[in-house]
Amino acid sequence: MGGLPGMPWDFPWPFDRTYMQLALLAGIVVGATAPLIGVFIVQKGMSLVGDGLGHVAVAGIGAALLFGTSPTWTAMAFAIVAALVIEWLRARGSATGDLALALVFYGGIAAGVVLASRSGTNTNLQPYLFGSILTATANDVWTVLALGAVIIVVIAFIGRALLAVVLDEDAARVSGIPAGVLNTVLAVLTAVTVVAAMRIVGVLLVAALMVLPVATSRLLAPSFRATLFGAVAVGIASAVLGLVAARQWALAAGGAIVLVAAVLFAVAAVVSGLRRAGAQAGSLLSGPH
């Protein structure tokens, strides 16, 4: 079996098969875009919002299985509506927001399971819950590429202003930066990212790919900009190494990608700890005698 049609060169092992090349393309895009969104949501103290939106996306998958619509676009519609509701609750500072979020999230996954069971194809939820990158079709990958391109272009356009909003939302509002609009755009992009990553790592693991590379990069990066690019690099490395491990040892690719991200975080934590210890020892040696 050969590579992707039109490729001018052969890919080396383990990406010498078409399905692995499609997985590599999709993995790189999701590995780059999930942390790109994650760097802002982590800073807003909403690290688990991707997990919650993933739960709601399951309801969209269930509805798509029942009504015969496109799983991707139906999940997208569900996730975007949920993201807008969450942003509305957050902006209101509602005291009951936490409870309302739990209701939306767990109601979402329960609705997904029930709707899918009514469709008579309950097992079809599996690829969306845990990812199924190795069975992704060319059409799936083109969809991921298009969604990834949208996310990158929008973040390139609004990233600086989003930093001002996460720094201090009130100060941003006072200075005329449209914080409400930017927060809404970020919420929609988060939903888009969750759906783009759905086939790659699965909705139950998508939050990990949004948060772990950011946590890793933050330990070592000297600035916000470096944190952002570092997180993207860690996300891409996790996707590529996870796919290599999946091919080598016949592992579930989604789980392997997230485990690689967790290992990279552990390595960064050790390096950061050693660096801190070294700096402390240095300051003790050069201190007053």
Binding site: Q43, G45, F157, I158, R160, A161, L163, A164, V166, L167, D168, D170, A171, R173, V174, S175, G176, I177, P178, R218, A221, P222, S223, F224, R225, A226, T227
Partner: protein, 251 residues
């Protein structure tokens, strides 16, 4: 010809949370280029008034004007700089001094635009005016409380505001940091002609520089010059009848 329009004006502003009357017919103004302080005991409504003045809260009755128009209708929002209490900045933010101050320039350069030479110069000048040039590449989290506060002032200065509003900026900051803070505000007023409204109950660091004092306890108790306030037996100094003690008695 000088523009005589006040930088900020409140007309009979009232605000209530449920049945709790927080502000009652508050009126005062801060003139262009004036260095004013708004003070009052804890729970006097200072923070609520600040949010109303900045357009973050709508008053129950009365109205507010920034440069002669309602806050929502002010198109050149960069004319107002706002320095929040430092605790509102996330403690684990990985941003550098330069990145934080640059974000303060976005309102003037256009948040969707890339920085031009004039924007970079304004950011450099703002960092220099709070004497943090040597620390510009350091992360905010690596700085002391006083240094972080000066970063937030530089962030507000980066848009070259005509009115700077500061919320409890020197609470818990050491004496040297207070002196640098005072120098930054005096520089802003003297070199750039901007008005300053300092909301605080610690005014010792700027006592000699203030033009205007407003004392609030739900309504305006005093509105005049520091010299007029001293005439009532209250000074901004540190002896037994100083302002903090007087405010405590009011509270």
């Amino acid at each position: 010809m000088l523009n005589k329009e006040p930088a900020l004006a409140a007309h009979l502003v009232s605000f209530r949370y449920g049945h709790d009357q927080v502000l009652d017919d508050v009126s005062f103004s801060v003139g262009a280029g004036e260095f004013a302080a708004l003070t009052g005991p804890n729970g006097s409504g200072k923070s609520t008034l600040l949010r109303v003045l900045l357009g973050l809260l709508a008053p129950t009755s009365g109205d507010v004007e920034l440069f002669g128009v309602a806050p929502a209708k002010l198109r050149e929002r960069w004319r107002v700089g706002y320095v929040p209490q430092r605790l509102r900045i996330a403690s684990d933010l990985p941003a550098t001094v330069l990145e934080v101050v640059r974000s303060g320039r976005l309102a003037k350069q256009g948040w969707w635009r890339r920085s031009r030479a004039v924007d970079r110069e304004a950011v450099d000048h703002a960092i220099e005016s709070v004497q943090l040039t040597d620390l510009r590449a350091r992360k905010l989290t690596e700085l002391s409380g006083g240094q972080q506060q000066r970063v937030l002032i530089a962030k507000a200065l980066a848009s070259e505001p005509e009115l700077l509003v500061l919320d409890e900026p020197i609470a818990g900051v050491d004496i040297e940091a207070q002196r640098l803070f005072r120098d930054s505000l005096v520089h802003l007023r003297n070199e750039h002609g901007a008005a300053v409204l300092l909301v605080s109950h610690e005014l010792g660091a700027v006592a000699d520089d203030l033009d205007h004092m407003i004392v609030l306890k739900r309504r305006v108790l005093f509105d005049g010059s520091p010299a007029e306030l001293a005439g009532t037996g209250v000074s901004l100094g540190v002896h037994h009848d100083d302002l903090p003690l007087w405010l405590e008695e009011l509270g």
